[in-house]
Each structure stands twice: as structure tokens, then as C-alpha cells.
């Protein structure tokens, strides 16, 4: 087995730690995340509060863990939904070609023209701030990327000899897409999804920062940042910690994506 890329290791480790924290929060957190105890605010790290408490006496570690869970859930569902829909549309365009391809690709271009974050803010503001609407907004802005990527790769596959052979033996478009095209573009789509994951985490943080994402009392890294903003001089750790979590997660997914791409495409690795 050949050596795995370094970025894969680092990215995997970062994502692994965050994902582990999120998973653990499903069954155990140091404190209850919704508990407010003003008399306990601004506590330094202690045996009871491992990372101290915030301005309302909530346990920071608990907030970070449940925040990780919320961030990852939103990103996973949103990228999953957006990716599935985008890939399906891309495969359709790649298989049909002609007018269908024109329309699908031009629609993708059209939605590319909107800045993704602004578009998500618009959706969240129009339909009311909530967990579900944040997922829908982020899923929606993920569609066009997957349309482009899957359509372009699918078209290449459609020109391969084995596809021509399959067509010559009168197999249907759906069967060819399922048996030949999808398995061949899966690696590229997965790499794309990993990288989009990082973007989704960022957009969720931005939405929550603006009050349009996860609603209280559910913790969110973005809202922790915005709530601690005026406390920068009093309790800098309250902004630094959620900030570090966002940086670690985004960096982790980007490195993981890079590593997976190198793995999936050995020529790129040699070219570097």
C-alpha cells in the first residue's frame, strides 16, 4: 500500500476530533446545554467546568460539543441533499445532452451568479430563522457546484469505449448511468462534497452569527461568537474557543478534501 498524503492525515485527525466530540455529545455532555446559571458566569476552567463558563454561566465545553453536533448535522444534511440533487441533475444533463444539458447548466450558472452567503441569508430571512431553514438554504446553494462537476465528468465517461459498447448492446441511458457513469464519477463527487462541507460549516456559522441559523437555546459556534463579541476584553476565551473550532473544522475538511483528491487522482500528486 502506498503512502497516504500528509494532508489526509492532518485533515482526518482534525475532523475526527470534532466529529468525536459531536458524537459524544449525543450521549453525554459535561453539563446540560440549556442551563443558565448567572451566578456561575465567567468561571475559569475547573474540574466542574473544563473550559470555564460563559456570560450566562453556561458550560463552554458543553456549548462547543453541542455546537459541533449542530454544525456537522446541518453541513451533513445540507451537503447530502444539495449533492444528491445536484449530482442527479448533472447526470441527467450528461446523459441527455442537447437542450436538457443547456437548460440545466444555464440554470446552474444562473444560481452561481448569486453570492452564496447572501442567497442563504435571503432564504433564511424570508422563511424565518430555524434549524430546518438553515439546512434548506445551505443545501440549495450547494446544488449548482455538483451539477457542474458531475455533468462535466459524466460527459467524459459517456465518450469512453466501454460506454459505446454498452450502448451498442442496446442498454438504456438509466442503466448505463447507474452501472458505468456513476461509479466512475463517484470519487470526484465525494472529493467535492468534502470540500463543500467546509463551506457549509462556514455558512452555518455566518447564518447563526447573524441570528438566522440555529436558534437558542441550541448552541451554535456562530452565535457563541456574536454573543461574546462585546466581551472580547473581559473574557477573550469566549470568542477564541468557538473561533478555533470553526477554523479547525474548516481546515480539516479542506485538507481531507485535498488528500482524497490526491488519492483519487495519482497523476495530480506526481505533478506537484
Amino acid at each position: 500500500m502506498r503512502n497516504l498524503p500528509v494532508s489526509l492525515w492532518i485533515g482526518g485527525a482534525l475532523v475526527g476530533v470534532i466529529a468525536l466530540a459531536a458524537l459524544v455529545s449525543l450521549v453525554w455532555t459535561p453539563q446540560d446545554f440549556a442551563t443558565v446559571a448567572v451566578s456561575e458566569r465567567f468561571q475559569p476552567p475547573s474540574a466542574r467546568y473544563w473550559l470555564g463558563t460563559d456570560q450566562l454561566g453556561r458550560d463552554v465545553l458543553t456549548q462547543l460539543m453541542v455546537g459541533a453536533r449542530n454544525s456537522l448535522t446541518i453541513a451533513l444534511v445540507a451537503v447530502g441533499l444539495g449533492g444528491a440533487l445536484g449530482t442527479a441533475l448533472g447526470l441527467l444533463a450528461g446523459a441527455k445532452g442537447g437542450w436538457t444539458e443547456e437548460i440545466v447548466l444555464r440554470l446552474a450558472d444562473f444560481s452561481f451568479a448569486f453570492p452564496a452567503l447572501l442567497f442563504a441569508i435571503m432564504l433564511a430571512a424570508a422563511f424565518g430563522p430555524s434549524f430546518a431553514n438553515a439546512v434548506v438554504a445551505i443545501a440549495f446553494i450547494n446544488i449548482p457546484v455538483f451539477v457542474r462537476v458531475s455533468c462535466a465528468s459524466a460527459r467524459q465517461v459517456w465518450q469512453r469505449d466501454y460506454v459505446l459498447a454498452a450502448r451498442a448492446s442496446a442498454r438504456g441511458g438509466l442503466a448505463i448511468t447507474r452501472d458505468h457513469v456513476l461509479p466512475n464519477i463517484a470519487a470526484i463527487v465525494i472529493v467535492q462534497a468534502t470540500i463543500d462541507f467546509a463551506g457549509a460549516i462556514l455558512i452555518e456559522a455566518a447564518l447563526s452569527y447573524l441570528g438566522l441559523g440555529v436558534q437558542p437555546p441550541e448552541p451554535s459556534w456562530g452565535r457563541m461568537l456574536s454573543e461574546a463579541q462585546t466581551l472580547l476584553f473581559l473574557a477573550p476565551q469566549l470568542t477564541v474557543l468557538p473561533g478555533l473550532c470553526i477554523v479547525a473544522t474548516v481546515l480539516g475538511f479542506n485538507l481531507l478534501g485535498d488528500g482524497l483528491r490526491d488519492l483519487a487522482d495519482p497523476r495530480r500528486e506526481k505533478a506537484r
Binding site: V36, V38, L56, G57, P129, P216, Q229, T230, L231
Partner: protein
């Protein structure tokens, strides 16, 4: 050698300044959290309209000083008849509106008739409710007859709702206000700033009055802090982040002015719909509120708890904070009595003010402890006015009532956003208004405080403090706010 050079440089820099006798700064930039909806205080209840324009651009017959006493404004003098029902006002002479038209008794008649008209949109029509007749025997005299004695009448006439406007300019007041005050409106850049300039024709022009006053609309506490630190603004009357005050207190460039306001912050309950049409449900919420926790958590201790709807700075205040002691168990059993199931979902729809958003998180946790699942919804100010205040589409909200004498809010009936309607309270309030003797009126005001507290109409939280941060060289601002307007004619830069 080095020291000489420094002294020389200092002298060179200081020289031009000293060479200009009478040089003084006459411009100031202040910030305010809330942007006005329109610029006409006789058309809309938004507090920032009054705080910027009333008694600055617009004037009323009377005014109020920082101690809360009624003082002359457009009426230089007045007499009240023996029976307390006829007021004769003598108007200031030689006054012109900012557009050059003259001011006389006809303008007063016009303003009052407009506010009292059937189709008037005045937000406080009850001010004018006692008036039966208003006449102008001559151009400098106005006689107002009322049908019952009203202890607050002269005080009420000072408010922005009773601003004197001119028939020639009234239609444009929403966007380009014209009044008689010491400052004239210059410009309003929506979302950014509003500028006033000195009215050089003002009848009582003083030396050193500001030539230009700019209000920046900055809602974000961090942005206000940064703007103060960077010198972009010279002060703010409503500093939104009490946790940052110690930082300004220790900075010699700034003065922190902590005073009182008339602003009762309440957890308003919609008495007009389930579940808070039930007094047990309202009392349950009151037992579930831990005021000290809210004050410490949301205001960092800079607020006084209240148990009813009355400012603690008033001589007639009764401390009712002990009426519903914090006790989640009692609250739970009251909720059960009211037939409200554990985990009932309640919307807490809040306006975008720091005191509201910060209190909301704590109240949400406190309500969870008594079995109410509170969902916090943060609305933009215009949406809050539209859906909560006018549309009454809410179960809970958090709002500061900054008007003075506003116990009368509880007489506003089922169409006011409280949804509270109780003839017994209306009778009590009529009595208060009709009682001229201060001691007897004080006793009745105390009864009224007990009444609304006993009815648990809302969750009464705390009295909003007046937290001002100003440049040290600035003087003439109000530390406490007995009314929602704040006259700026006395602002001065000192050496």
C-alpha cells in the same frame, strides 16, 4: 536638546489654536440604537423620533426639565382657573417656523384639532381626550377647556405627541420636519444618520450652542464601542452594553453617566389570547421569573428590579418585587391549575434591542424550568411594530415602556397590544387623573401599582437605567430621563 525640540514643536502646534480667539467646537456626533420610522412624533410611537426631534426641532406649548418639572416652551406663561378646568396660555411672540412661516394661536388650534380629529393617527390621543373646547381670543392667547381636572395635563402637553406643527408644512413632516425649535432638520440618510443644524432665528439663542448635531444609527454594541473609541461619535445616551462600562469608566477621555429613566422593561404577556388570558398562567410566569438573575445576566447589575409598572425613582413608588417570589414549584402548580400541559410551546417575539435579546435567553431557561417551552423569535423593529404592537400576534415579548405616567397603558383596552381590559382599573385611573391633590393622587397611584401587579398583567422585570457615555469635554446632556425626549440646546464643548 531633545526636550527643546519637543517644546518648540508644541509651541508651533499650539500657536495657531491660540491665535484664533473664540475658537470653539460647535459640532457633535451622537449615536442612537433605534432608527426612527418617520420624523413626525404626532404620527408614530417610535421612541427615537421623540428622543431626537421633540423640543429640538419641534416644540410644544410646555416642556419638562431634567427634574421632571413642567417649564414654559412655546407658551411663555399660563393661568389655570379656580376649578382647574380652563387653561389660558400666553404664547411666545415673534416666533417663526423653520420654513419662515409665522407661529401664532392659529397653529396651536390647527395642531390640536388635527391630533384630536376622528381620523387622527396620533399615537397618544388620550392626552387630548379631556379637551372640550380650544379657542384663540387673539393671536398670542390660547384658551383650552377640559371637562375634568387632569393632574398630568400640562406635563402631557410637553410631549412630542402634542408638538405644534404648521398647516403649511405638516404634510411633509414625516420626512422633512418643520418646527419652531432651536435646531432645524438638515438631512436624513436612512440606515446611516440624521443631521440637525442650529436655527439661527431661534428666540432664545445661546452662546456656544451646537451648530450641527449628527445622530448616527448604530445598533450593534461593538460598533458603538468602536465608534466611541475611534472618536467617530462623541457620545451616546443609550449605551447598549453595560459590561463595557467599566472600561469607559477607567478611560479619562470619557464620562459614564448612569441615571434613571421612565422605562419599565416588561415581559409583556398577551392577555387577549390563550394561554395568558388566564390569570393563573400569568401568575405562574411571574413566580417563574428570577429578576436578579435577569438583571445580573442581561444588565450586569446596572438596573433596579420592579414588581409593577412604575419607576422606582418616583416618590410614589411601591416596592412590589416580593409579590410573586421566585418559586418554580408554585409556578408549576399554577400552570397545572390553568390546565397548561408540561412542554407547551410559547413564542417570545422580541424587538432587536440588547436588553430584550439578552433577557430572552435567560427567561427562556427560567421558563423551561417551570415547564414552558419558549421559542425566541427576534424581529426587526418595523416587523415588531407591525406584527406584535399593531397586529397583537404574540404570546410573550420583551419591551421597555419609556413614556412617563404610562400606567394609563392598562386602560387602552382590548385593541392595545396588552389585550388587557378591566373596567375597575379604568375607573381607578380616571380617579387618579381627576385628583389634583398630590398626596391623595399619590395614594391612588400606589393602588394602581398594586392593582396591575396583583392582576399579574405582565412579568415586570426591571427599570431601564440611563447609561450614557460621553466625551469628558462635553457638558449639558441629561443624565436621567424623566421623559422620552432629550433637549440638546444646552450641549456645550468645554475646555
Amino acid at each position: 536638546m531633545r526636550r527643546t525640540a519637543l517644546a518648540l514643536t508644541t509651541a508651533l502646534v499650539a500657536l495657531p489654536l491660540m491665535a484664533l480667539p473664540g475658537w470653539a467646537r460647535t459640532e457633535i456626533t451622537l449615536s442612537t440604537q433605534q432608527e426612527p420610522t418617520v420624523l413626525d412624533p404626532t404620527a408614530d410611537a417610535t421612541a427615537s423620533i421623540d428622543s431626537m426631534l421633540t423640543q429640538n426641532v419641534y416644540e410644544s406649548l410646555t416642556s419638562v426639565n431634567e427634574a421632571g418639572e413642567v417649564i414654559p416652551a412655546l407658551a411663555t406663561d399660563w393661568t389655570v382657573s379656580e376649578d382647574g378646568l380652563t387653561y389660558t396660555f400666553t404664547l411666545a411672540s415673534g416666533v417663526t417656523f423653520h420654513d419662515g412661516t409665522s407661529f401664532d394661536a392659529e397653529d396651536v388650534l390647527f395642531s390640536f384639532n388635527r391630533a384630536m380629529a376622528e381620523d387622527s393617527t396620533n399615537p397618544s390621543k388620550r392626552i387630548f381626550e379631556p379637551i372640550t373646547e380650544i379657542t384663540a381670543p387673539d393671536a398670542q392667547t390660547v384658551v383650552i377647556t377640559i371637562d375634568h381636572t387632569d393632574a398630568f395635563f400640562l406635563f402631557n402637553l410637553a410631549q412630542g405627541d402634542a408638538s405644534i406643527v404648521a398647516p403649511e408644512s405638516v404634510d411633509g413632516n414625516a420626512t422633512s420636519p418643520v418646527g419652531t425649535g432651536p435646531f432645524r432638520f438638515d438631512s436624513w440618510t436612512r440606515g446611516d444618520r440624521l443631521t440637525l443644524v442650529r436655527n439661527d432665528d431661534y428666540r432664545d439663542l445661546q452662546d456656544g450652542m451646537m451648530e450641527r448635531i449628527t445622530f448616527r444609527f448604530i445598533a450593534d454594541p461593538t460598533a458603538v464601542t468602536n465608534a466611541l473609541m475611534a472618536g467617530e461619535i462623541d457620545g451616546t445616551a443609550g449605551f447598549p452594553s453595560p459590561e463595557l462600562l467599566p472600561m469607559f469608566e477607567s478611560d479619562p477621555r470619557f464620562t459614564v453617566a448612569v441615571g434613571t429613566t421612565q422605562g419599565e422593561v416588561i415581559l409583556a404577556l398577551n392577555n387577549g389570547r390563550a394561554p395568558f388570558d388566564d390569570i393563573d398562567a400569568r401568575r405562574a410566569v411571574n413566580h417563574g421569573l428570577n429578576r436578579q438573575e435577569i438583571i445580573d445576566g442581561a444588565m450586569y447589575g446596572y438596573a433596579t428590579p420592579i414588581g409593577s409598572f412604575f419607576p422606582p425613582s418616583d416618590a410614589n413608588y411601591v416596592d412590589l418585587t416580593g409579590l410573586y417570589p421566585f418559586d418554580p414549584e408554585v409556578a408549576r402548580s399554577l400552570l397545572a391549575d390553568a390546565g397548561i400541559a408540561e412542554g407547551t410551546s410559547i413564542r417570545l417575539r422580541i424587538p432587536p434591542f440588547a436588553y430584550a435579546t439578552r433577557s430572552a435567553v435567560i427567561i427562556q431557561a427560567e421558563m423551561a424550568a417551570i415547564g414552558l417551552d419558549v421559542e425566541v423569535e427576534q424581529l426587526e423593529w418595523a416587523a415588531w411594530m407591525d406584527q406584535v404592537y399593531n397586529g397583537r400576534d404574540y404570546e410573550m415579548t420583551i419591551i421597555a415602556h419609556t413614556s412617563p405616567n404610562d400606567l394609563s397603558n392598562f386602560t387602552r383596552g382590548p385593541n392595545y397590544f396588552y389585550g388587557y381590559d378591566n373596567p375597575a382599573f379604568n375607573t381607578l385611573w380616571d380617579q387618579i387623573v381627576a385628583t389634583a391633590d398630590p398626596v391623595a393622587r399619590g395614594a391612588l397611584l400606589q393602588d394602581a401599582q398594586r392593582f396591575v401587579a396583583d392582576e399579574a398583567v405582565h412579568g415586570f422585570l426591571f427599570q431601564l437605567p440611563s447609561l450614557g457615555v460621553y466625551r469628558t469635554e462635553l457638558s449639558g446632556y441629561w443624565v436621567s430621563s424623566p421623559v422620552i425626549f432629550s433637549p440638546l440646546a444646552d450641549l456645550r464643548w468645554t475646555e
